[in-house]
Symmetry: C2
Subunit: 211 residues, 2 copies
DNA sequence: ACTATTTACTAGACACTGCCTAGTCTGGCG
DNA sequence: CGCCAGACTAGGCAGTGTCTAGTAAATAGT
């Protein structure tokens, strides 16, 4: 639906693409619907056909961001290597994304998501599911495929490890973005986190099993 | 300077106070200089005498935020207890602050700080110095009082530990604020981080010393 | 095939914002 | 007392997001 061009072409896609660039250049505050319309050569009211709100545009951008981050992490996960190596690769992918697209990352994790659209929520959930897949299934729970989400084992080592990982990477990206630390220090944090988390009881609990 | 009342009273302080409340209620986007002036009963141009910019107001708020966060951490640090207990207390203080004043936290760690005022920069630095004090001095370095900042040992276990800690807490606060996880899960992350970091080589390196 | 409806888009308006500028009042100082 | 720097007022400007009524075009209905 709303897929093929007719009047202008596919305005929605063009707007999103331009918006992402504008976001990178000028930040969230500098992102103006009217300026976007001007660049696309349409009237200032045109974007309203595709995004009811400015916030709707931002939500769509955030959704795209989650999709791209998930892809990045998935490809960081693809290669071979020990769990620790993959830990570091995924961590770097996460932090890299957050640093290179700082404004987008801010959008994705903004407090605005009081009632996010289902699409956005799904995109975010998919990111966290992907992180789950990166972590060995919890040997403590009888069921190894604990990704089905029907019965979320909140206290499982797997979930706890994932959350700790996500928090650390998220925070690292924030510290770099806010110029509190340099990118190289961020890498050091990732390395330290890898050895600390994998060496912890939580980490060993996950590693100590056959497959 | 600009301390005592004359015309209106101390507008600057009133504006800051109201702004902090407005920040809590409506977020950064909802913070309007004109509305602030209205509430204070002054003309819409009045704030300009105290804040050249909207950004200047935001910077001042961020500065205040750093001061308050530092105080909170300091008092969390004050009580007795093992290093691990204090780790958890400080972590909770950090995360609590970031969750309760999410918009302010966002301001403090926004990417906007391209050329922050000296006052803001100092306030931020003081926070990180306070975190330093919470961590035992690095036994590896000959000088135990490594807080002077003149020769920042970038690779010291102390600094690395601090950064890893800060990143984790910062990220935890973000995940909670963005409704990705619940507050209780945040506490679990803090606990897991405490045991993981203190049990790591980095942590044991810091703990293995007399005093 | 002709109409009807939905949709994309235009154009104008409104309220609001931050910022600038010129003027006014006031408290403190030489 | 006269003067002056600083706090404050009032008006205006450009820009914004959102709403509305109207237009044109693509799709759907019969």
């Amino acid at each position: 639906m709303t897929s093929r061009p007719f009047h202008h072409g596919n305005l929605r896609a063009v707007l999103l693409e331009q918006a992402e660039e504008m976001l990178r250049n000028t930040g969230v505050d500098g992102l103006s619907l009217r300026e976007l319309a001007r660049q696309a050569g349409v009237s200032h009211g045109a974007p309203r056909s595709h995004f009811i709100d400015r916030q709707a545009l931002l939500d769509a951008l955030a959704e795209q961001g989650f999709v791209r981050l998930t892809e990045n992490i998935r490809s960081a996960l693809a290669g071979r290597g020990s769990f620790e190596e993959r830990f570091r690769r995924v961590g770097r992918a996460y932090v890299d994304f957050g640093v290179e697209d700082a404004a987008l990352m801010e959008l994705m994790f903004a407090a605005k998501l009081n009632d996010p659209s289902k699409a956005l929520q799904d995109a975010a959930s998919r990111l966290f599911e992907t992180l789950d897949e990166a972590i060995p299934a919890d040997p403590g729970s009888g069921d190894p495929s604990a990704t089905d989400g029907s019965h979320i084992d909140r206290g499982s080592a797997r979930v706890r490890f994932k959350l700790l990982f996500a928090a650390t990477m998220q925070g690292t990206a924030t510290l770099i973005t806010s110029r509190r630390i340099a990118r190289s220090e961020g890498d050091a944090i990732i390395d330290d986190a890898a050895s600390a988390l994998l060496g912890s009881e939580l980490g060993r609990q996950l590693m100590s099993r056959p497959r």
